[in-house]
């Protein structure tokens, strides 16, 4: 009887500790280093506005990281290159005026955001009377403040900022200045040579065809081309590739992307031409003979259509050279045997 009681007591203690540890582990949270995780939407705003008018845009900033203090600012940007990358300027410039309609803070003022909390930023954009017609490009930046640790160690403190671009066209009449030009429409062949004044692009039949299409905007306003790249073969085969509508800012160029495009597996030391520069479209397949490539672009209703074309030859060079070498070796061996005989 005593033994039974003791057993029951041990069992009780064991179950008590089991519950205790289960509760301890289920309530103890993992501790991570200070993490910042921000989401900002919408990622892009395009607006056409008359001088003297203002608009209100509602952005949502969400904090998925640790609780943090955030601050907002607007800075102008310019295109950095023709791949759609931007360079944000250090100082504000331009005639467009920005302010936040939020009741509790304005641009440049800090606000606190808890984990998984969001804040609506009501951005007012105003083109004052007398604003010169043209385009103005800005980025709304929402950033965390670096949190310095009070410790006697050397360290770097990361500050995270997320941005959303604002493309503003100021026009009195609503008319947009559209002056596009195709500056480059070419293939990147394995071999290129001139023949009677004509440039011949030569590929191996098994090569993928890399195509580069760069469009220049010589106008005062941004443009967004739409169109296709069309491949025509000498046996009547035809393939169409849609050009992705991407903005080309005024007085800049942009590499257009087309879809569906193949993916090249490039290594850092790859000598493939297509791996050494950015490409609009890569067409995979087996090609034989003469092919024509053409593109035509439009820029909205009643806009001019621009087009360009190029061509290439595809020949099974690798197979041909392999077969030639094989043949040469066979002939050499046969001749040698005959000579020995």
């Amino acid at each position: 009887m005593k033994n039974d009681n003791l057993k029951f007591k041990i069992k009780k203690i064991f179950i008590f500790f089991l519950i205790f540890f289960l509760l301890l582990f289920s309530t103890t949270k993992k501790i991570f280093a200070q993490q910042v995780s921000l989401s900002l939407s919408p990622p892009l705003i395009e607006t056409i506005i008359k001088p003297g008018k203002s608009i209100l845009i509602a952005y949502t900033i969400v904090n998925y990281g640790d609780p943090t203090v955030l601050t907002t600012k607007i800075l102008p940007f310019e295109p950095k290159n023709n791949f759609g990358q931007i360079k944000i300027k250090d100082e504000f410039e331009g005639p467009i005026r920005f302010s936040l309609d939020n009741a509790n803070f304005n641009l440049g003022q800090d606000f606190f955001l808890k984990t998984n909390d969001s804040e609506q930023l009501l951005l007012r954009i105003r083109a004052p009377e007398g604003t010169p017609e043209g385009d103005y490009y800005y980025t709304l930046l929402v950033g965390s403040l670096p949190q310095f640790a009070q410790e006697e160690k050397s360290a770097s403190f990361a500050k995270a900022t997320i941005g959303s671009n604002i493309l503003i066209t100021v026009t009195q009449s609503g008319q947009i200045d559209i002056k596009p030009k195709i500056t480059i429409f070419q293939v990147l062949p394995r071999l290129r040579f001139s023949f009677f004044g004509k440039t011949i692009n030569l590929f191996d039949s098994t090569d993928s065809i890399p195509i580069v299409l760069i469009v220049e905007n010589k106008g005062k306003n941004l443009i967004k081309p739409e169109g296709q790249i069309i491949l025509k073969g000498n046996f009547g085969e035809r393939a169409k590739f849609d050009i992705l509508p991407q903005n080309i800012l005024s007085q800049s160029q942009r590499l257009m992307l087309a879809t569906p495009s193949a993916d090249l597996k490039c290594t850092p030391n790859s000598k493939l031409k297509a791996c050494q520069r950015s490409i609009s479209l890569i067409i995979p397949g087996f090609f034989l003979g003469f092919y024509q490539l053409s593109t035509s672009l439009i820029f909205g209703e009643n806009s001019p259509q621009i087009s360009a074309s190029t061509s290439f030859f595809a020949f099974p060079m690798k197979i041909f050279f392999g077969f030639t070498i094989f043949l040469a070796i066979i002939i050499f061996i046969i001749k040698k045997i005959k000579n020995e005989e």
Partner: protein, 243 residues
């Protein structure tokens, strides 16, 4: 019998702690309520083997709204935000510990980007001044990597393996990183804002993607004549979608 009761008690306790709390989404702020360009009450992508469809129900204007004197292009249909633009830094306090001469110290942080509608994105990095003591008297120079033919700069990574090559720099490894970071021995110095240098692009892509990750490893190596002290700087990361 008592063990049965205890088992029930354990199950009850476990259930209480496994069940997570559910919160409703805030639809308005306590200070104001705004009707945005569109209010998508339903929508998204539908597909079968024969078709793909994307729709929005409840938009006041589909994709684009116009008014007297302005047009704004924004909203769900115009910018198809399947994956919202999101940027994360896993660790904002990148601690090197105690710096010892000729003994390189490294610390890392992970950058994560998710983006959909934007189509393209970039993450730039710049240091807000050199790694320096709080009184700004002593500084650790930016790395030039191993020097000679292996001299790196803000836009070109080169190997940094020598323990007698001093400075502060970074390596990056993962998705959408610059091609010159061939392996984890390749480093670059950060551009310095106080020297009017432009931020360096450390991640960029033209493809839509979710959770694109790159691990940035920061490295410091000091010379024996480097004065003792606590050296700190701020690295400013800016993630922006394309236009």
């Amino acid at each position: 019998m008592p063990s049965k009761k205890i088992s029930l008690l354990i199950i009850f306790f476990l259930l209480c702690f496994i069940i997570q709390s559910v919160s409703a989404v805030n639809m308005e702020s306590p200070l104001f309520k705004i009707q945005y360009g569109e209010i998508g009450i339903a929508g998204g992508n539908k597909s079968s083997t024969n078709y793909n469809l994307s729709d929005t129900v409840g938009q006041t204007a589909a994709g684009q709204f116009s008014s007297n004197g302005y047009i704004v292009k924004a909203g769900f249909q115009y910018i198809h935000s399947i994956i919202p633009f999101r940027f994360s830094i896993s660790n904002t306090n990148i601690n090197f510990g105690n710096l010892l001469p000729n003994s390189p110290q490294t610390a890392s942080t992970t950058l994560t980007v998710s983006f959909g509608a934007a189509g393209q994105y970039q993450v730039t990095a710049i240091e807000e001044g050199k790694l320096r003591t709080l009184d700004d008297v002593n500084q650790i120079p930016d790395t030039q990597c191993d020097g000679g033919s292996n001299t790196c700069n803000e836009s070109l990574a080169k190997p940094w393996t020598s323990n007698s090559a001093y400075g502060f720099g970074y390596n990056i490894d993962g998705n959408d990183i610059p091609n010159d970071f061939i392996n984890n021995t390749y480093f670059r110095p950060f551009p310095n804002r106080t020297e009017n240098e432009n931020p360096a692009i450390v991640m960029s892509s033209t493809n839509v993607g979710k959770n694109r990750q790159a691990t940035m490893t920061l490295k410091v190596n000091i010379s024996p004549i480097q004065p003792a002290g606590r050296y700190q700087t701020i690295i400013n990361f800016v993630a922006t979608p394309s236009f």
